[in-house]
Amino acid sequence: MNKRPSSTNAFVRFNDAVGDQWSQISDRLLVSRGASRMLILVILSFAFFAALNPSVFLSPLNLQNIAVASPEVGVIAIAMMLAMLTGGIDLSLVAIANLSAITISTLYSAVAAGNPAAAEQLTPVLVLIGLVVGLLGGLFNGFLVSRVGITPILATLGTMQIYNGIAVAWTGGSTLYGSPEVLTAIGHATVAGVPMLFIIFLLTAGVIGVVVSRTPLGLRIQFQGANPVAARYSGINSRRVLMSTHVVAGLLGGLAGVLFIARNPTASADYGASYVLLVIVIAVLGGTNPAGGFGTVAGVVLATLTLQIVSSGFTAVRLSAYEYAMAQGVILILVMVADQVTWRRRRRPQTTPVDPVAVGT
């Protein structure tokens, strides 16, 4: 009503607004601490190897190799992150991916034996079937975890053996040759020098990123992992959340299978056996809390790139794959230790003044 106070009010409001914006920015940085840390690591590792051996490391071929090798691992790592967000884990993802690739290859070969042209025509259908295989695998995982109530690590340990067993039995343990040429073409295609596979990877990451942080389902997944009891009391249906998570993870596994076969026109039951543990490393490195509730797609994408850069960087400076395996382990443990130390320091002063046991009686 009165003009003068309102003008000072406006100033106060403006001041508050600025302060608020600033704190929101700093918060966002803090919230995605995992992602920003990974960004620094990506840049550092890139700069490091570029400086050590620029002619090899910065060659277009090497950069393209990084971009072609990351997508399949990255997609599975994103799926792993989803499972970890709910406080679980999914060990069956690589087996699902292989099963999907094998299905595509087998069906293609079967059709191509009679009519090669028709087999090419059917490519979209085959891809779809590959994705459906992933979806079914995820559905069964979700059923075991959310309905039967088996701990995710055991449920997926079991299904990993089952899916892998089916794949081994189906292929007789041998490598299948035969895949739609269109897929192979896509696997080798580039858009403005960027491999198609990498673009697919980024698109997938973008979609899942939106799902995780910008949809009710994504937030429910995070809440379920952060505190299942509180989630239940907030009206979050844990069965539905766990089921959806595993289905989406399975779908991503199926997609990874398509990427496998696009990059390499073969399929076998034991392809990517080392990925099972590698993707856990990537997910954790990317800031995913294995206990659930926290993790970002951006962090996982950056972690995938970091490991790929370190891998090809090691090759560029003539270090072996063995040294790379070592570096991977060292990085993982250092990051976890660093997290643990800062985490403890951050929360220690605040934990005990309230009597936690006394609340609620």
Partner: protein, 504 residues
């Protein structure tokens, strides 16, 4: 041990001298002292957050004091560690018992002693007689070969007591020992306490239940905000004086309740609600804008009634109507769909996502109502809702991005309330809305409830805090033995009446 007689025994079994402990600048204990004599039951009383738990942790060696001493047998300890405490004969029976669920009763009893003796080998057969002896001596009926996991709460506690005694404990501290017990179990515990006292054990009871405090103890020490208020003979105290010392002021009996319009429509109508083993035949109505108190002793069924209406413990019998329409409450989803919200009793484990931000916590219950056409979250509306509630409930935090762990009890509770307000329920039930909340914040939370009620929400406050009910409720339901025994209205609502009716 010398004589079992209590007060005149000159040698204290345990002395605590000027113990100070601060956590990150917050003083939890500010120079607390007390003596504990053999053959006495000493009650340590105080409100939540007064420092009881911290004191126990320091005596048991789980925490180190900033300064002060603990004296056992003329040996001065500046800080205990767990082993030293056990060696000195100090045993703590924690509220959660700290038993090993995967081991048998006999092993649970025997292991701690074996650890303290620094044994290297363990023999199931050799350790059994000791366990059997203590069980027999106390005249208990415990299956020594059962896994602790499979025991009832009372038997778990008995196991914990046996474990404490088998190692020649001279000081036993029991943290809220009666919380989960039925009446028979409580009297059995008390007779056990008498027997332990006769053996010359010094017992410390930590409790905030006044009736128990007076029934079992010889002396009482009261803490308030980390300070020692007084130590006195139990005979010289009564519930009212203890309350006064615990809270630091006289009981506030003032009412601040709006006048409900006569034609305020009925929102919730409960008829003949029953759940075997918890409550039966509960019928009441709740009107628009009304604040209804639901009170009763712990275990009276008051929490179960609320959880039934929220679909956590679906009722076996009875009907519930919301705005005249019959609703089935078989799950939490049902309850939320019917417009019922619930702020649970245990804020930390049931109400909050501690590491998540205030904003995330606020939106956790109303995600679907902030959706766009594309099934994504409408971030501008989300932000609007959050900022509005943050301002309206005057949550004291730098901003909505701060993690809930950093908040005080009162502010954390506002976040839980905000989560439900964002969902705009017709009926909001709050279980112990101000437990563990400081006095100032308590009034503000009650003001928030009054404002919401005035805006048309119907509110149920489940609480045993009589002054709080008096100051905020239009009517108060008294639950006893799982039955609705009184509905107090208007002038009937005062602290004494509520307390009498609850316990009668």
């Amino acid at each position: 041990m010398s004589s079992p007689s209590s007060e005149d025994s000159p040698v204290a079994a345990l002395q605590v001298r000027d113990v100070v402990k601060t956590y990150g600048g917050v003083a939890a204990l500010q120079g607390v002292s007390l003596d504990l004599y053999p053959g006495e039951v000493h009650c340590l009383a105080g409100e939540n957050g007064c420092g009881k738990s911290t004191l126990i942790k320091i005596i048991s060696g789980a925490e180190k004091p900033d300064s002060g001493q603990i004296v056992v047998d003329d040996i001065v300890h500046h800080a205990m560690d767990t082993t030293a405490a056990i060696k000195s004969g100090i045993q703590v029976i924690y509220q959660d018992f700290s038993l090993f669920p995967n081991l048998t009763v006999a092993e649970n009893i025997a292991l701690t002693a074996a650890v303290a003796e620094r044994k290297r080998l363990y023999s199931r057969r050799a350790s059994r007689p000791a366990a059997q002896a203590i069980v027999d001596e106390l005249g208990l009926d415990l299956d020594l070969d059962a896994d602790v996991e499979s025991l009832s709460v009372a038997d778990k506690q008995l196991t914990a007591i046996c474990r404490a005694l088998v190692h020649e404990a001279r000081v036993i501290i029991m943290d809220e020992p009666t919380t989960a017990l039925t009446h028979t179990e409580v009297s059995r515990l008390f007779s056990l306490v008498e027997r332990m006292r006769a053996r010359g054990v010094a017992l410390m009871f930590v409790s905030h239940k006044l009736d128990e405090v007076l029934a079992v103890s010889q002396r009482v020490t009261i803490l308030r905000s980390g300070r020692h208020v007084l130590t006195a003979d139990a005979a010289d105290l009564d519930p009212a004086s203890i309350t006064r010392h615990m809270t630091g002021h006289d009981v506030d009996d003032a009412r601040a309740v709006s006048v409900l319009p006569h034609d305020a429509p009925v929102v919730l109508e409960v008829e003949g609600l029953g759940l075997p083993g918890a409550f039966r035949d509960i019928s009441f109505t709740l009107r628009e804008g009304e604040i209804l108190g639901v009170t009763g002793l712990l275990g009276s069924g008051r929490t179960e009634i609320a959880e039934s209406l929220f679909g956590v413990l679906p009722a076996a019998r009875g009907t519930v109507r919301v705005r005249g329409e019959r609703v089935r409450l078989r799950s939490i989803d049902d309850a939320i769909a019917a417009g019922i919200g619930y702020v649970p009793e245990d804020r930390l484990s049931q109400g909050l996502f501690l590491e998540k931000s205030i904003a995330d916590n606020m939106i956790a219950g109303s995600l679907d109502s902030h959706r766009t056409r594309w099934r994504t979250l409408d971030s501008s509306r989300v932000r609007q809702t959050i900022q509005q509630l943050f301002d309206r409930l005057r949550i004291k935090a730098p901003n909505v991005g701060a993690s809930v762990r950093s908040l005080s009890g009162g502010n954390a509770q506002r976040v839980v309330i905000a989560k439900w307000l964002a969902n705009r329920p017709r009926v909001l039930m709050l279980n112990g809305p101000t437990v563990g909340v400081d006095v100032g914040s308590k009034q503000e939370i009650l003001d928030i409830l009054r404002a919401e009620a005035a805006a048309g929400m119907s509110i149920m406050v489940i609480s045993d805090d009589a002054p709080e009910l008096v100051s905020s409720c239009h009517r108060v339901l008294v639950i006893r033995q799982g039955r609705l025994v009184h509905i107090l209205e208007g002038q009937e609502i005062d602290v004494t009446t509520i307390q009498e009716r609850m316990a009668a």
